[in-house]
């Protein structure tokens, strides 16, 4: 089963990556892109009986390893 974990910096935290990309896009003439924030995501291929179990596993793994709750928040999506 596939679960996806999306991790982003919390809204109030500085995102240097997004900031640099935004500035680069403005320099390149894409002023209509007002702002960019960058995140990461993880596609997990998990052994799970059902979607609920897959979701729970993904959330545990996100808490443990994939996200740092101090500066990041995450969201889990389960497909199928």
């Amino acid at each position: 089963m596939k679960a996806t974990v999306f991790v982003t910096l919390k809204p109030s935290i500085l995102d240097p990556q997004g900031k640099t990309i935004t500035e680069a896009l403005h320099t390149l003439g894409y002023g209509s892109v007002r702002d960019v924030r960058q995140g990461k995501y993880f596609e997990l291929d998990v052994d799970a009986a059902d979607a609920e179990q897959a979701r729970a596993l993904a959330a545990t793994v996100a808490d443990k390893l994939l996200a740092n709750p101090v500066i990041e928040s995450y969201r889990v999506d389960v497909e199928g």
């Binding site: 240097p16 990556q17 640099t20 990309i21 680069a24 320099t27 390149l28 960058q38």
Partner: protein
């Protein structure tokens, strides 16, 4: 004496090192060229130095390729002028499409700074003509994203055209995956374009030009360029492209 243009992106940090090696160690003319400029001002060779051109949070070299100077670098390269991309400079050349392939993060994800062993695979480029084929150079690397990737067809083409210039090897020059420090495809540490005048490499020859720094093996790379340019100058400026041919 030849003039080497060292391109300075805002986050370049080996620009001074390249300048120092060319000017103070090899006694050549060296000049910084700010990335917002649009002329190389008659330089004979171009060095894209190491560093983190734009912070490289997105991908190394991704933003730098849009700098105004890069159009000029591409024109210079197309006209056969020698261009050396070192570390981040190599990444910029890949992103700019002046060399094939792309970079991933190092196999173990960690940044690695240490001396590695490189085998010289080809000598008919302006940056290797003084080196003996098969010679093993001890030169430092310092990167987090140097895990070179090219798809199998591209690698086959690189092999066929003899474009793989340096490989990571054991100290005795033998190929061994354990010595492929960052996991690069085919242990590629450096390569050239089809015309052979544009060379990109992850290791830092400018850090290995003085005994005081622990190795002088990088000199042969930079001295090759000096000799290639001198030969080209002797043969007439128009034949600069011929500098690549031994």
């Amino acid at each position: 004496m030849s003039t080497f243009a060292v391109v300075v992106f805002p986050g370049s940090n080996c620009d001074h090192d390249a300048y120092h090696a060319m000017k103070h160690v090899l006694g050549q003319e060296a000049r910084f060229v700010w990335h917002k400029e649009s002329s190389l001002d008659g330089a004979d060779a171009v060095i894209l130095p190491g560093g983190f051109s734009y912070g490289d949070y997105l991908r190394s070299g991704a933003i730098a390729r849009f700098s105004p100077i890069m159009g000029e670098v591409a024109r210079f390269a197309a006209a056969g002028g020698p261009v050396l991309g070192i570390c981040n400079g190599f990444q910029v050349l890949l992103e700019a499409g002046l060399l094939p392939g792309g970079m991933r993060r190092n196999r173990r994800l960690k940044f690695i700074c240490e001396h590695v062993h490189l085998r010289v695979e080809q000598t008919d480029t302006p940056f290797t003509r003084l080196a003996a084929r098969g010679r093993v150079l001890r030169i430092p690397i310092a990167h987090g994203e140097g895990n070179y990737y090219a798809d199998p067809e591209t690698v086959a083409a690189l092999e066929a055209n003899r474009q793989i210039i340096f490989r990571y090897t054991a100290p005795d020059g033998s190929r061994d995956e354990a010595w492929n420090v960052n996991g690069s495809t085919a242990a590629i540490a450096g390569l050239c374009n089809a015309a052979r005048n544009v060379v990109g490499m992850m290791p830092h020859p400018e850090r290995a030009c003085e005994a005081a720094l622990g190795s002088e093996d990088g000199r042969v790379i930079l001295e090759s360029a000096v000799v290639a340019l001198a030969a080209a100058a002797a043969g007439g400026v128009e034949q600069r492209a011929a500098a690549a041919q031994p």
